[in-house]
């Protein structure tokens, strides 16, 4: 076990898969000569050359579609969006081509592609550069959506995503690239898609958190432990398909659920989890499910406003206390 950053873990995953499978290639803006806008792809051009690691023009719709076409012809592209904000330009190819190709071709053309890059907020990059789009992509059958929160998860899940035969939206978090953690050394280490991870066991309240919210939820759980409340923190890791069973089992035990996310609340993943729990665990709920989401506003620039827009430890603590009837 080595202790490395999420950035390094992702780099290892891509490097290992490029080395393992000749059909894998990486393309995106600044992934090669610049070594990656966030240095995730550092050194890969040097190691694999310009055929396998390709700098693209700023042409998101074009290279996303090119990737899907290459996947139709049997290659396994990793397409990097410098940030997922720019994937909005490519949604036609992600949604209308990648997600539906297998179905509308009656099972003939699967699309083994990974669209990856950072999503969610960064630090003061304002409205157009601070968007959490996972609920968009999770909406579409045909896509898989993955959001890691630790270095080990990042590596294991990215390797599984690259090996998967379906299109995977792999959303990282810019604020978390430097987070450190232990990662197994085994080059065949992978983590299956569709399996939630219980990041912390507890008995009183279940907190479901993903991506940036996982470390924040764990801090909240620490604080709550001091107050005598035992929290179970679950990271679904894969948003589609969602491992709802693990969440249901936890809620059956704790009878209370808080769901935390960076994204806007309307039609979001929190809303979906709440509905699932209402349908599947209604009789086990001792309190209404509480959502903690990003503010329902475009992301502001000013530091103080930005802080207010993103859920923090205090908001999660307050939500847990509310469903535990402590206030």
């Amino acid at each position: 076990m080595a202790t490395i950053t999420i950035r390094e873990a992702l780099n290892q995953a891509i490097r290992e898969e490029l080395a393992r499978d000749e059909t894998v290639f990486l393309m995106g803006e600044e992934v090669a000569e610049y070594d990656g806008a966030y240095k995730v792809t550092k050194g890969l051009l040097h190691e694999f050359g310009p055929k396998r690691v390709i700098d693209t023009p700023i042409t998101e719709l074009g290279f996303a579609g090119l990737g899907v076409g290459a996947a139709m012809a049997g290659l396994r592209p990793i397409v990097e969006f410098m940030t997922f904000n720019f994937s909005i330009l490519a949604t036609d190819q992600i949604i209308n081509s990648a997600a539906k190709m297998l179905y509308m071709s009656g099972g003939q053309f699967n699309i083994p592609i990974v669209f990856r890059g950072p999503g969610g907020s960064a630090f003061q990059v304002s409205s157009q550069h601070s968007q959490a789009l996972e609920s968009w992509y999770a909406y579409f059958p045909g896509l898989k959506v993955v959001m890691p929160s630790t270095p080990a998860d990042a590596k294991g899940l990215l390797k599984s995503s690259i090996r998967d035969d379906d299109p995977v939206i792999f959303i990282e978090q810019e604020r978390m690239y430097g987070n450190k953690g232990e990662v197994p050394d085994d080059p065949d280490f992978t983590i299956p898609l569709g399996v939630a991870d219980i990041k912390r066991e507890g008995t009183d309240v279940t907190i479901v958190a993903r991506s940036l919210m996982v470390p924040i939820a764990l801090k909240a759980a620490d604080a709550l432990e001091q107050q005598g409340v035992s929290c179970e923190v679950i990271d679904p890791r894969t948003i589609r398909p969602l491992d709802i069973d693990t969440i249901v089992e936890s809620v059956k035990k704790t009878n209370r659920l808080v769901v935390a996310e960076e994204s806007h609340p309307i039609c979001g993943v929190n809303a979906e989890i709440s509905a699932e729990i209402m349908e599947r665990a209604f009789d086990y709920l001792d309190a209404p499910v509480k959502r903690v989401s990003g503010a329902d506003v475009p992301m502001p620039y000013a530091k103080n406003l930005e802080n207010l827009a993103i859920p923090d430890v205090n908001r999660i603590v307050a939500a847990v206390r509310e469903v535990a009837y402590l206030d």
Binding site: G62, G65, L66, G69, A73, L75, N96, M104, L193
Partner: protein, 377 residues
């Protein structure tokens, strides 16, 4: 850019003059004698072209065009009878484009198309049965009844789909060409789209990448002059589409889409560039659809006279006239081809009618290649 090997735009322009057999939209001030001289020389060229192919090959081109025509007529009939659902975009009038171009490639080459793709699928070798059954939404259709008129696929034959977002197939085709080059193969990709797709960003983004990375993709713009009901003149500031290739330093040609041999030859030239040097080409093929945009077209944006003007240059009639004139075929043989083609189409209709609907369980299959049971460890 120093390794640029594509024909510079001016050369492409020159080639365009040579390759076209007739001027579709002659400006009013064209000298009539000049026009006649052009027509005569076009006739001569046609003779040369015919002599370049064996009788069997020529007759096969004719048969394919006729098959598409009869197939589409039958589709129209089945559509108005309510047997085909949704949208249905017919290829009638444009047969020479698909047949001519696809006759210039190999079976392992890729073809991608828009939603007006029944005829292209037939030209790529897909059976009338599998296409008609798909139109009928039957389990025996080429896409198991899940795609319909706009989404025909056949992996084995390299037909990579009808795609129903205008221009959406252009980046995809750029990607299949990328894959061929990545693997070091000499496969080429033909990408068909209408002239209205040229206004989409996807077109420009694709051409830029294709030339930047030297990808063996042949972009075939089927300029039928209307994007749904909006004429080219009302939609494009610069309506000479072949000229747009200049912006990307891509070789281009203007081709008469009513002349199957002209289309074939222009495609052959592009295929050679693509196979040998991994170079893309843009072909602007002037054609015309005799039927509406789809079966629900009110037809109020063009005149009957205009349609009739183009029907005089019906690609099938033009070609059969050439074949008769050069005594490559006689009337009896033509009739025999028509009979066989009609039989084939009737057979596809019967097959489609008698085929079963998809099993209800098919609703949930083919969503994922690796379906995941969430929570499995």
């Amino acid at each position: 850019m120093s390794k640029q090997t594509a024909a510079p735009p001016s050369a492409a322009k020159a080639e365009e003059q040579q390759s076209s057999t007739g001027v579709m939209d002659a400006p009013a001030d064209v000298d009539k004698h000049q026009l006649k001289r052009e027509r005569d020389s076009a006739k001569e060229r046609q003779k040369d072209r015919l002599s370049g192919l064996g009788a069997d090959e020529l007759i096969e081109l004719y048969r394919q065009m006729l098959l598409i025509r009869r197939f589409e007529e039958k589709s129209a009939e089945a559509y108005v009878a309510g047997k085909i659902g949704g949208f249905c975009h017919l290829y009638i009038g444009q047969e020479a484009v698909g047949v001519g171009a696809i006759s210039a490639i190999r079976q392992d080459d890729y073809v991608l198309a828009s939603y007006r793709e029944h005829g292209l699928a037939l030209a790529k070798g897909m059976t009338a049965r599998s296409i008609m059954a798909e139109l009928f939404g039957k389990a025996t259709g080429c896409s198991k009844g899940k795609g319909g008129s706009m989404h025909m696929f056949d992996k084995a034959l390299g037909f990579l789909g009808g795609h129903a977002i205008v221009g959406g197939q252009i980046p995809l085709a750029t990607g299949t060409a990328f894959a061929s080059k990545y693997r070091g193969k000499d496969q080429v990709t033909l990408c068909f789209f209408g002239e209205a797709a040229v206004n989409q960003g996807a077109f420009h983004e694709s051409l830029n990448m294709a030339q930047l990375w030297k990808l063996p993709c042949i972009y075939i713009c089927e300029n039928n002059q209307y994007g749904m009901g909006t004429s080219l003149a009302r939609a494009m500031s610069l309506s000479d589409i072949a000229q747009k290739a200049c912006a990307y330093e891509i070789a281009s040609e203007f081709v008469d889409g009513m002349d199957v041999l002209a289309v074939r030859e222009a495609t052959q030239r592009a295929v050679e560039r693509a196979r040998k040097d991994y170079l893309p080409t843009l072909l602007e093929v002037r054609t015309y659809r005799f039927m509406g945009h789809s079966m629900s077209d009110p037809g109020n944006y063009r005149t009957r006279a205009e349609i009739e003007k183009y029907q005089e240059r019906d690609p099938i009639k033009l070609f059969s006239a050439s074949l008769l004139e050069e005594k490559i075929i006689d009337d009896k043989a033509l009739e025999e081809i028509d009979r066989k083609v009609r039989e084939e189409v009737e057979d596809s209709l019967k097959f489609a009618e008698e085929s079963p609907l998809p099993d209800p369980e098919e609703l949930y299959t083919d969503v994922y290649a690796n379906p995941i049971e969430p929570g499995r460890k």
